[in-house]
Amino acid sequence: MAGSRGALVAFDHASKRYPGLDLGRTGAVEDLSLEVPAGRICVLVGPSGCGKTTSLKMVNRLIEPTSGRILVDGVDVATREVTELRRSIGYVIQQVGLFPHQTVRANVATVPTLLGWSADRIGGRVDELLRLVGLDPAVHADRYPAALSGGERQRVGVARALAADPPLMLMDEPFGAVDPIVRERLQNEFLRLQEVLAKTILFVTHDIDEAIKMGDLVAVLDIGGRLAQFGTPDEILANPASDFVARFVGADRGLKRLALARVGDLEPAPALTAHPGDDASAARDRTLADPFPYLLLLEADGRPIGWLSATQVPASGILEEAMATAMSPLLDVRTTLKDALSMLLAADVQAGLVVDEAGAFRGLVTAEMIAERLHPTTPARAAVD
């Protein structure tokens, strides 16, 4: 089958009009054009009635477009035989739709069975998938859906969609029917899964926070099925294309953007540094001369010990560890800017110390530098490479 590494999906002026209804009515789609690169998650987000689910269903032809085309790997889906098309696309919906009269094992095996895989191959695949979604086959495989919790049912739904290793997955509010704690866990696990599987995923949600968290690309749809903006989460947050988008992402979009960026994205500012055993008087001169008169004492391997103000540096002798009394929060390069800002505010300090994986000091990050990210004219960093 076409590589499991992800299919290319493109909407080419796709529209869905319902006879007798004018646009602006729920569920219609108007002239949607966008391209999803292979192996990426594209989130379709918007308010109720914006046509996001309709657009999704046009890909596997549960709904047929009234005009325009949808292309998967360059082939118009309308030209493919419909059941063959659907067997090559994974589909996960909010209510899951597990077959109540079949065991978990039989449910997961649905598409492989339809494709005629051998019993051995199916059996192995089912076990593998259940483990992949975090369920123990020995415990769950022979249970019926009615006996599962909401979270377990969702996991089985995902396993079922992945069973035949489709290059494309369609997901319609898949995590909507579970409580927020379970939802967050499922989202994180799914993102980890995607790192390994790298499938092309079209994901529908009405929740902008979920869209930003899950998407490599986000398509914001307006009521009536019009594409309001298409870009990376950061682009959407930094530069909303219209009032509608700005309102939809919310007034706190600056903070949301902070959650997207990491300390490692910033260029840390340099600081005056010294090591224990260095000459004190030379250090003192250096520190007094600097507009930011503070000296950072580091271990031999670069790990920060603490700050000395200029006046605390002795005029003679050598620097010692015990002289450094003040400390700033340590910021890992992977810490989000949002968390970094929280840490700085909590510690009531101006700057945090950026350290790498080994704990060695890299530079300073100040609250000002973080605040500069909130400025709307800051050019966005592309999240897609």
């Binding site: 596997n60 549960l62 059941t83 063959e84 098309l85 659907r86 067997r87 696309i89 589909y91 919906i93 909010q94 209510q95 899951v96 739709g97 597990l98 077959f99 109540p100 009269h101 079949q102 065991t103 649905t110 598409v111 339809l114 022979d142 249970r143 019926y144 859906p145 009615a146 006996a147 079922r160 369609l170």
Partner: protein, 215 residues
């Protein structure tokens, strides 16, 4: 109660019981097949549903006695005269239950089935019918029990029919209570036994109720 009469007629009682079951199962079987086709049609072609239900509803109000009698000029005193009304009566029960069963399949299950690439036929056979099974079995139960009852009434058509009902008619004609009871009691027991049997079979065919694990 004249037990000696009963003992003397045991083999005839047996034969009549077999005749009773035969007439009943023939009717239920044909009615089921016919209704299955009608139901699938009614579900696919929505407009057809209302007339089908209405027609069977009207049939139901015609007393069985009348329906049997009505067919005599047409089909004489043949097995058709006995069977056709029985089959027609099962239609309302079956169609209503089968359609309700098929309608009761959750929408998200149907959507998932379509999305996974089931053809319409496979979807009907692998998903819709199994899930409609509880209501279909309930319909089978009701139809079987009522048909067993109606077979007794077919005794009005004469000695060759009626199953155990024959004894009820004969017993009344001869003012012989024992014979009446010899027909009435076993037919009641027959109906109750078939009812119980189908309840058990239905439970075994639907192992997916809450909390169960596949054996």
């Amino acid at each position: 109660m004249d037990t000696s009469w009963i003992l003397a007629h045991l083999d005839e009682l047996g034969l009549r019981t077999i005749q009773h079951l035969g007439l009943a199962f023939l009717a239920v079987g044909s009615g089921f097949v016919l209704s299955m086709g009608l139901s699938v049609l009614a579900v696919r072609v929505r407009p057809a549903l209302a007339p089908i239900i209405a027609l069977s509803g009207i049939l139901y109000t015609i007393p069985s006695l009348a329906l049997f009698a009505a067919l005599v000029p047409v089909t004489g005193l043949s097995i058709l005269t006995a069977e056709v009304p029985l089959v027609l009566y099962t239609l309302l029960i079956f169609v209503r239950n089968i359609v309700a069963g098929l309608d009761g399949v959750p929408g998200d299950v149907l959507e998932a089935a379509d999305a996974m690439g089931y053809s319409r036929r496979t979807r009907l056979l692998s998903v819709e019918l199994p899930l409609a099974l509880p209501l279909i079995v309930a319909g089978l139960r009701l139809a079987s029990v009522s048909t067993i009852g109606l077979v007794t009434i077919s005794g009005i058509l004469g000695d060759r029919f009626g199953g155990l009902g024959f004894f009820i008619f004969e017993g009344y004609r001869h003012a012989f209570p024992t014979e009446i009871l010899a027909g009435a009691v076993p037919s009641a027991v027959l109906a109750l036994s078939v009812d119980r049997l189908l309840v058990g079979a239905g439970a075994r065919l639907t192992p997916w109720s809450v909390g169960s694990v596949a054996r």
